[in-house]
């Protein structure tokens, strides 16, 4: 939305940032899904060049040179991670880089680089125009200004809302028409899945931090399914570079699916907790470090739902796999049905 409606302000923010750090080049990284915006954005840039707001000696000021180009990406989620984004700009695989060095030391093509998101850069001209006091007058201590929230899911008024930092989640839910939400995912897949007992918490950096995404889930939704969908997402989006994220997410997902299929056992909850913690602790970049959150936060906030799925069977015997399915491949090779686990006669 900022790109479509405030592109000019974004580019102004980038230019100011360039001036501040003494950079001569800016890159807008546009993921593949937004390719349709490219022509429009190029137009905005052309206009700014024409108006001497970009190019050599901006507004006649010698030495203030700044160019902006648009870099198209293919749309991998991990390319939102700053070092992966830089790799992608460089024409490499969109893998995160090893840090240190940090981008501010060695970034794009080995040069010092500052990476910021569109919303941050759009704030810059506002602050300069209206003064820091006005900006600081909005929001809560430690989280100045306003925040754009993209609210979706089970709500009667989905959309993009600008709210002051510090707003309690309940108010947000009321705005969007989601008062009956049984669960809310704050901060996208890598954020947290929270339940009603936490709705009084505030949207701000030190409480419920979010890049802007709020997804609401109404009555009738299953939080385990929600968590499973997000785990699917991370399995797909992992770049595969480091062990914990590449393997751990698959294992987390598999065990969650087993629980959902009714073949869980009580020990599975500790299993998920331990595995999730390792993935979080040992992963190389932000994606992996947050990829276990769908499970870890749903486990913390919706534990009874998990417990219900993994309770011990009355006979004390929780079958964790389907023996018929397990022997079927061997039967195929042998050309016989299993003698020990024969198929029920009606299936033959």
């Amino acid at each position: 939305m900022l790109l479509t409606e405030r592109a000019d302000r974004l580019f102004a923010g980038m230019t100011i940032a360039g001036y501040a750090i003494g950079a001569a080049e800016g890159i807008l990284y546009l993921r593949g899904e937004y390719a349709y915006l490219r022509a429009f954005l190029e137009d905005v840039l052309t206009t700014r060049y024409r108006d001497h707001l970009l190019g050599a000696a901006i507004l006649g000021k010698t030495g203030f040179d700044f160019d902006i180009r648009i870099q198209m990406g293919a749309g991998a989620y991990v390319c939102g991670e700053e070092t992966a984004l830089i790799s992608s700009c460089e024409g490499l695989r969109g893998d995160p880089k090893t840090r240190p060095p940090f981008p501010a030391q060695k970034g794009y093509l080995g040069l010092p680089t500052v990476v910021n998101n569109v919303e941050t850069l759009c704030c810059v001209p506002k602050i300069l125009e209206e003064g820091p006091a006005t900006f600081g007058g909005h929001g809560s201590p430690g989280s100045s200004g306003t925040k754009l929230l993209s609210i979706s899911g089970d709500c009667s008024r989905p959309g993009i809302y600008e709210v002051e930092f510090g707003i309690p989640l309940t108010e947000v839910l009321t705005l969007a028409g989601a008062d009956d939400a049984i669960a809310v995912q704050v901060g996208g897949p890598s954020g947290q899945l929270i339940g009603p007992k936490d709705y009084a918490r505030k949207i701000c950096f030190d409480d419920l931090a979010t890049g802007g995404s709020i997804m609401t889930f109404g009555p009738g939704r299953d939080v385990l399914k929600t968590a499973a969908c997000f785990m699917d997402f991370f399995v797909d989006e992992s770049c595969g570079y480091c062990t914990p994220c590449r393997v751990g997410n698959v294992l987390l997902k598999d065990r969650l699916e087993r629980i959902r299929a009714g073949r869980g056992e009580p020990g599975d909850l500790d299993y998920l907790q331990r595995l999730g913690t390792t993935v979080k602790t040992a992963s190389r970049c932000g994606l992996g470090q947050t990829s276990a959150n769908p499970i870890l936060t749903s486990l913390a906030n919706f534990r009874p739902r998990y417990e219900e799925m993994v309770k011990a069977h009355q006979d004390g015997f929780n079958p964790s796999f389907d023996v018929r399915a397990a022997v079927s491949e061997a039967e195929g090779i042998a050309g016989h049905s299993s003698v020990i686990y024969p198929q029920p006669i009606e299936e033959r």
């Binding site: 090893t98 770049c239 595969g240 480091c242 062990t243 393997v247 598999d254 595995l275």
Partner: protein, 236 residues
């Protein structure tokens, strides 16, 4: 800049040199930090995460993290050991590692690491992926079943042999080693005398017809655990 950097690893005080990684400083001090993707002489890569340590309480990969003054590093605490065990387990279940008949058994760093950590069976379920063997080359073979995506061969071929024979393709769980040719090893410029042929920590990149020539009892890790060469330096 002073020419030493003071830090502590597991309550041992040591002096590193500026520009060293935690792992390099530890090695010099005779403290072994377990590692799989890292190999002395190659650029640090940081993919296996087995070298994870806590630096002032925060997890970092020792093979890529430079030292800085006053770092307080935990490497052999219970918490860190458990993380490493998980990572080793993950590497086992991710591939098809049949140590019982693998020709690298006894010389394999992954197996030796599992022994060092007292792992007899992984706690995670095997994923049993279906992976190929590329035996097209007359003297070299890749058994993808055992590749742990450490990129040692990638780095050695690129940086030591100047060839770039190996690279990775695909993402996430599907990430795999590939060769820089249509699809097969035989079409590349790889040669059995390449340095890349000596770096694989497991039984994935192999010289053909050299299997089991060293009898049990004389293999690299038959008598001393992995890491003892570094720990040995300390006691001397």
């Amino acid at each position: 800049m002073s020419d030493t950097v003071a830090l502590t690893i597991d309550n041992v005080q040591l002096q590193g040199r500026p520009g060293q990684t935690i792992l390099e400083a530890a090695d010099e001090a005779g403290i072994y930090i377990p590692r799989l993707c890292h190999l002395k002489g190659l650029q640090p890569f940081g993919s296996c995460r087995v070298c994870t340590v806590l630096v002032n309480g925060r997890p970092q990969a020792a093979c890529t993290q430079p030292i800085s003054p006053g770092m307080v590093i935990e490497s052999s605490t219970e918490q860190v050991r458990e993380i490493r065990k998980d990572l080793i387990d993950m590497l086992f279940v991710e591939g098809n590692h049949f140590c019982m008949f693998c020709e690298r058994s006894g010389n394999c760093e992954l197996q030796a690491m599992a022994y060092r950590f007292g792992i007899s069976a992984p706690r995670y379920p095997f994923l049993f992926p279906s992976r190929a063997v590329d035996a097209s080359h007359p003297d070299i073979m890749i058994d993808h079943n055992r590749c742990i995506r450490c990129a040692r061969c990638v780095r050695a071929s690129r940086d030591l042999d100047g060839k770039e024979v190996f690279g990775f393709v695909n993402r996430g769980p599907h990430k795999e080693l590939a060769v820089n040719a249509a699809a097969r090893l035989v079409d590349t410029t790889v040669d059995v005398t390449d340095q890349a042929m000596n770096v694989c920590p497991v039984g994935a990149l192999l010289k053909k017809r050299t299997a089991y020539v060293v009898p049990i009892g004389r293999r690299k890790y038959d008598h001393t655990p992995i890491g003892s060469e570094i720990e040995g330096a300390r006691s001397q």
